[in-house]
């Protein structure tokens, strides 16, 4: 029998603060936003009216919603893939002890301590078409890079900032996984004739499948919900809605457009989507991950 607490209620008291926080900041808002998605809320208070699925019908027939949803999906696929592949390459290099990997390890972890909004401000400056790193190229080819007016440029800038933001955490997780792979395994593969690329594909990647799975689960969710700070500081959804992802549209509709019911409805849809994504990952992908060593 596992050791148990003396008092029957002790575990409850111990976990109560955490439960309260989770309830206050997660479950109650979730509940409220689902509730609001079925009502018509007045922006300045003064009662609400139950309207059934009307909000959903309205949101789902709005082409701007689908535009934002599509951009969210594209951002999720490219953003999370790159935010894993780039740290993976860095981690593989650091694991192979390429020169400077010790320094790189430290340098790569620092960004973890920077808030998303700060990253946004810094990147907006770095990618400024007139004074940023692309300025010389713009001098050669005028109009080549201008995230202020070109939607694709803005989207790319957002992606880069997001990937950069994701590097530290994913790098640490993946490097830890790689370092736990016994060196003799890659040596055995080398003797078996595997080139460095084959060793990565056949031995190292399968061995860090649990870490890859973890980063994918977290990264998919992260790319859907946490691009907000970056968008708000860099592009505010523009130009022309090119970087208006769902999270940002919800904010715009709710706080700028005072369409509280519409925002709540879109939040609910987004939450269900993220939930389904996570469920799929755990129910389907995780079965393919072997944790044994």
């Amino acid at each position: 029998m596992p050791p148990s607490f003396a008092g029957r209620w002790t575990p409850f008291w111990l976990s109560l603060p955490m439960l309260l926080i989770v309830a206050l900041f997660f479950y109650i808002p979730v509940y409220l936003s689902f509730w609001w998605s079925f009502t018509l809320e007045r922006p300045f208070g003064g009662g609400s009216e139950f309207v059934g699925f009307q909000n959903y019908a309205r949101v789902l027939s709005d082409p701007i919603f689908w535009d934002a949803a599509w951009r969210t999906l594209v951002f999720m696929v490219f953003g999370s893939t790159l935010a894993i592949i780039v740290p993976l390459i860095l981690a593989l290099a650091a694991d192979r002890m390429v020169p400077l990997s010790h320094t790189a390890r430290n340098v790569l972890i620092w960004p973890k301590g920077i808030a998303g909004a700060s990253i946004g401000v810094v990147f907006a400056f770095i990618f400024n078409p007139f004074v940023g790193i692309m300025a010389p190229l713009n001098g050669l080819f005028p109009g080549l890079w201008n995230p202020g007016s070109d939607g694709t440029d803005a989207f790319i800038m957002l992606l880069i900032a997001h990937v950069w933001n994701g590097i530290p955490f994913n790098f640490v997780i993946l490097l830890a996984g790689l370092q736990a792979v016994p060196r003799s395994l890659t040596q055995a593969a080398a003797i078996d004739g595997a080139s460095p690329w084959r060793r990565i594909r056949d031995v190292q990647l399968p061995m860090i499948a649990p870490q890859l799975f973890l980063t994918f689960v977290l990264e998919f969710t992260e790319s859907v919900v946490s691009a907000f700070a970056l968008i708000d500081t860099m592009t505010q959804g523009g130009p022309g809605g090119a970087t208006r992802l769902l999270v940002y549209k919800i904010y715009q509709d709710g706080f700028k457009g005072y369409d509280l019911s519409g925002a709540a409805t879109q939040s609910a849809i987004l939450m269900v989507f993220v939930l389904c994504l996570a469920a799929f990952q755990f129910l389907y992908l995780e079965k393919k991950v072997r944790y044994e060593r």
Binding site: S184, Q187, G193, M207, A209
Partner: protein
């Protein structure tokens, strides 16, 4: 398993250092084609390093490695025709036994049908046929060991490297696997290089034993020669269970004496020497050199006594099982007819053979 042709391996002024740490200060040796060479030495003497150099897992610092006359020190592991069995087996945990064994063939692009045939054959050679679809995590230590060996032999390598492959097995399994390895070596014909610090493994498996001490070759010879004519005090103290006794003695006017004056052997040398005496050639009697027993190990078939001479030098003696001396007991021992070896007291190198004494105090 069809026989392959083992490669002759020549080490030519081979050195390896890690930063300032000169692990192998310069090796010269020729390992015969198809020979079973055991590399024996204490922990940290550079055995694994040498094996990794041969396999191509580490870069040589200077010198050459030749296999059948071809320089290989610059080649990648896969271009050397070398297979290796690791101490911890290093099986791929996410692959089945068959996939583990066949991985090298798959990479080499061997067609499916031939691959399956060779996997089955290698598995049969190590009696693993029933486990092909299992994963390493579902096997016992001994079975994993067999998979590792099958993975090595399936490629029909010309050189097989073993890095302490038996050290994770229990004593009984180790004994059985040792005999199978010897048989396997004869059957497949590859040159085998086997690293161990177990001298019993070395004595039983080797055609020749290469004894390493701090990265230098102390002696490279047949097990018999190493046992009978150890080239240095290091080898003498390393081989034999219990190992040879090494006593400080004086050589003068044709005789080797202990400090007590007891004559141990006849010799032409002069000055301080180290005298080696095998513990199993020392007898108990009533009149010889007095010793005090410190400790007794009862090994069933015989006892091993740890004792000390009057001048404090320690001495191991193997005695028959009929009488069990007690710690603290005073005994007398005779060196008459003992197998004695003479070494330079300073360099530790072997000197000209001394003459054993026939009876108490009388050199031959």
């Amino acid at each position: 398993m069809q026989a392959t042709i083992g490669a002759e391996i020549r080490l030519d002024a081979l050195t390896k250092s890690y930063g300032d740490n000169l692990v192998l200060p310069g090796l010269d040796a020729t390992l015969g084609a198809g020979e079973f060479t055991v590399i024996l030495g204490p922990s940290g003497c550079g055995k694994s390093t040498l094996l990794n150099l041969l396999a191509g897992l580490e870069r040589v610092t200077s010198g050459r490695i030749l296999m059948n006359g071809r320089e290989v020190q610059g080649l990648a592991p896969r271009d050397r025709g070398v297979a290796m069995v690791f101490q911890n087996y290093a099986l791929y945990p996410h692959m089945t036994v068959a996939e583990n064994i066949g991985y090298a063939l798959k990479i080499a692009g061997v067609p499916r049908a031939e691959r399956d045939r060779r996997i089955a054959e290698a598995a049969r050679t190590v009696a693993l046929g029933d486990y092909l679809t299992r994963r390493p995590g579902e096997l016992s230590g001994g079975q994993r060991q067999r998979v590792a060996i099958a993975r090595a032999i399936v490629r029909e390598p010309s050189v097989m490297l073993f890095d302490e492959p038996l050290s994770n097995l229990d004593a009984q399994l180790r004994h059985g696997t040792r005999m199978e390895l010897a048989a396997l070596h004869r059957r497949i014909g590859a040159s085998s290089i086997f690293v161990t610090h177990d001298q019993v493994e070395a004595m039983t498996l080797a055609d020749r034993i290469l004894i390493l001490n701090k990265g230098r070759i102390e002696q490279f010879d047949t097990p018999e020669a190493i046992y009978r004519r150890p080239a240095s005090t290091f080898v003498a103290g390393f081989i034999g269970a219990p190992p040879m006794n090494l006593l400080d003695a004086i050589a003068e006017s044709g005789r080797v004496r202990l400090a007590s004056g007891t004559v141990l052997a006849g010799t032409g040398a002069n000055g301080p020497v180290t005298l080696g005496i095998r513990p199993e050639t020392i007898h108990l009697n009533d009149v010889g050199e007095p010793v005090v027993v410190d400790y007794v190990e009862d090994l069933g078939g015989h006892h091993v006594l740890a004792a000390h001479l009057e001048d404090g030098q320690s001495l191991r003696i193997v005695t028959p099982p009929d009488r069990r001396p007690e710690p603290g007991e005073r005994l007398h021992v005779s060196f008459a007819g003992a197998s004695v070896h003479l070494f330079d007291a300073i360099t530790g190198r072997r000197l000209a053979d001394p003459a054993p004494i026939r009876s108490e105090g009388v050199p031959a």
